[in-house]
Structures are given as structure tokens and as C-alpha cells.
Amino acid sequence: MVRSALNPPRRIGQGPSPLAVYVPAVTVVIASFLAALPIVSTIGWYPDFGYLMFIGWRLLRADPWPAWWAAPLGFVNDLFTGYPIGFSIALWSATMLVLDLIDRRTMWRDYWIEWVVAAVLIAIDEWLQWRIAETVAGGLPFTAMVPPLVISICVFPAFAWLIWRIDAWRLGR
């Protein structure tokens, strides 16, 4: 939690909500659960909601959850979305490590850099999914993955905005 959030609240009754520590993880689980929406899609161009939420939180805060929570959160995502079990566990844990490294290396961050980092991570996610589908199901042209990739990247700022709102709410500002 950021230092300013721990200062005494400006108004009575205003401050971090009691479950503020768990809110990020819960929103990620809810985003994964969006895969249970009753929409039958024949093309599958929807974004990977769980992953968008996950990297959104991690880009906003260095410590939305303990690093090892990536594995159980990924497991939940695998179960709800029907990915091979272990796919999100590995990818999400690796994402935490990579973003820690990036945090250490970068001097400053702004909106565009965060979007580029998110875009690269989403691209890696889509590429891995394509790779696994290719291994299991035979040659699939990568061009088929371009529309969902573009859609995911374009949707990311909306997720980032939503996460920023949720973050302000949970810290009581």
C-alpha cells in the first residue's frame, strides 16, 4: 500500500476499506469469471479479461498482492476459461517476475510506456496460446490471432481506467 494511504484520513469515516488488501485479487477472479458470461462466440475474439485485469493491477501498483498469489490466481483463470491447466499459472508468475525486472530498470513511467508494456505482454499471451493450440490441434495460421490481439490491446486502457477507479475506492479517496 502506498504511504499516503496510511496517513490519517482527511474526513471522518474516510479511509482504506477494511478488505483493501484483498480487493485487487478479488477483481482479478471476477474478471476471470467473465468467461462464464452467457455469450456463445463462434470466433473467440474476446480479450483475456483475467490477464488484462492482472497486468493492469500490477502496472498500477508494485504490490497489489504477494508475488506468489499469481499462481493461485492463474489456476482460477485456467479453470474458468478452459485453458490447459498450468498455462495461466506459468504465464502469470512469469509476468510478475518480468514486471519486477522492468520496475528495477526503468527510470520513469508514463501512460504510453505502460500501454506498450501491456501490449507486449498481451502479445506474448496470445502468441503462447497460439503456440499451444498449434501443438495440440495442428497448424493454425498466426494471422487468425491478430484480431483478438488488436482488440485486447485497444481494450487495455479501459481496464486500466477501471482499475484506477477501483483502487481509489478501496483506498478511500
Binding site: 468467461a35 463462434t42 490447459p84 495440440v136
Partner: protein
């Protein structure tokens, strides 16, 4: 992919958790969609009525033809002493959801092992073939759709009986290839039906309609649109022996 059976129970459990929610919400979306298409139908009711009357006449003629062919067929079969397979229905469920972000095409069916469904069973709707079961929970199961890359269906052309292979392309369409190399036997509008070869899918179930030719192959649209069908029927495998021989690892998602 290492041991596909290991997580079967957990995957099934997760399906059971999500399917009731999905099922309840699905009613709402179905109603909304119904209102919109319903309004569209009122818009040009007169023209549609005329069209339908015309179609009805044509259908009646075709029905008489079909009836006579059916009788002839029965006689021929009787002379051949062909063993007729009895089509049993294991369960009827609703398609309540699908995979969102994945090159794989799955759908969620609101019936599970408590209804007698097992992995590998074919799923069809009144319109045509939907796919086959690959994950099963107590209350829900996951269907590998016809349009998935891993789903290969031995089939044939309805027009002339030429054997073809239908394989999903992962984007809602199906790729059909003739078994014999050479001239492209397809025409746009051709209907592909399953042939029953391999013993998993029952024969003579409509699979897809050809929309475009591409080299030696053709691109076809599945006749059973998972987004539009309300009920899906799970049947036992056409030849039960095929289930035993089927390697489980090949279908693991």
C-alpha cells in the same frame, strides 16, 4: 498435456460452478436477441409470407419425393439385411456459453455426468452436428465444437456421396477436403453430412454448408450455429468400440 486425466475432476468441478450462473444469464440474452429478431420479422411480414408460401409448396413436392425414396430405401435395406442402428438420446442440454479468448473453440453444455454423459460422446442439434464432449462435470460439460482445429469429421458430400474430411479452422468455419486429390468436387451451397466412418459420429448428420472454394479445398459454415441453437442432444458414440480405442491424450485441450 502431461497427464490429461489428472485434472479431470477439478476441471469438471469448475464447470459445475460456472454453468448455473451462465445458464441463468443465458435466458436473458436469448430473450433480448429474440425481441430484436422478432421485430425484424414484423418489418417485412408481407414479403416473408409470400416467400414462405412458395417454399412451403416446394417443400411439399420434395416431401412426397422423399417419402417415396424412404420407402424404396427401406425395401432395399430389408433385402440387404442391413443392421439398423437404434439412435438413443443420452441427454438433452442447452448450450450456455463458449470459450472467449482462445484459438480453440469450446462450448459449455448444461448437462453432465449426472445425466449419463461421458467424454467422447457426439453432440448434435436438430440443425446438425455440434461437436463432441471433451470435459465433463456433474452438472455441465465442455463440447469441442465442429469449428475447432482438433475436430476432424469423416464426412461426405450430400449431392454425390464423395468422401471428404471436415476439419475446423478455429474461426467459426470448417475446412473441407476431398480424400481424392485432383479436381475440386465442391460447389458453393453444397451440404456436407457425416459419413459415420471412424465410429464416433453417427452417419448422415448434416455438418456444414460450403460457402467458398479455395484451391482443392472449400470453406464451409457449420449448419448448427452454437450461438443460435437452444438445445443440443448428446448421443452415445455410433460404435462404442471407437470410444475404447480413442486415445484420450489427443483431445486434451
Amino acid at each position: 498435456m502431461v497427464a490429461p486425466q489428472t485434472f479431470q475432476t477439478i476441471r469438471g468441478g469448475a464447470l459445475d460452478v460456472t454453468a448455473p450462473v451462465t445458464g441463468a444469464l443465458r435466458e436473458v440474452t436469448a430473450t433480448t436477441e429474440g425481441v430484436f429478431t422478432g421485430a425484424g420479422n414484423y418489418w417485412d411480414a408481407a414479403r416473408q409470407n409470400a416467400q414462405l408460401k412458395q417454399q412451403n409448396k416446394a417443400m411439399l413436392r420434395r416431401m412426397v419425393e422423399a417419402r417415396s425414396i424412404f420407402l424404396e430405401n427401406q425395401q432395399l435395406k430389408a433385402t440387404l439385411q442391413l443392421r439398423e442402428h437404434e439412435r438413443k438420446t443420452i441427454a438433452v442440454g442447452r448450450i450456455v456459453g463458449s470459450s472467449f479468448n482462445s484459438p480453440r473453440r469450446f462450448a459449455i453444455l448444461s448437462a453432465g455426468s449426472s445425466d449419463g454423459i461421458a467424454i467422447g460422446m457426439p453432440v448434435r442439434s436438430p440443425d446438425g452436428l455440434v461437436g463432441r464432449i471433451i470435459d465433463v462435470g456433474a452438472l455441465a460439460s465442455r463440447v469441442l465444437l465442429v469449428s475447432d482445429r482438433a475436430n476432424t469429421i469423416p464426412s461426405r458430400l450430400l449431392r454425390n456421396g464423395i468422401p471428404v474430411i471436415a476439419q475446423g479452422r478455429g474461426d467459426g468455419t470448417v475446412d473441407v477436403r476431398p480424400l481424392e486429390v485432383g479436381r475440386n468436387p465442391f460447389k458453393p451451397g453444397d451440404i456436407i453430412i457425416s459419413s459415420g466412418t471412424g465410429g464416433l459420429y453417427p452417419p448422415a448428420v448434416p455438418v456444414a454448408r460450403v460457402v467458398k472454394l479455395q484451391g482443392d479445398d472449400a470453406i464451409a459454415l457449420p449448419l448448427a450455429d452454437p450461438a443460435a441453437i437452444s438445445f443440443a442432444i448428446v448421443e452415445p458414440p455410433f460404435e462404442p468400440v471407437a470410444m475404447a480405442a480413442q486415445p484420450a491424450a489427443a483431445d486434451a485441450p
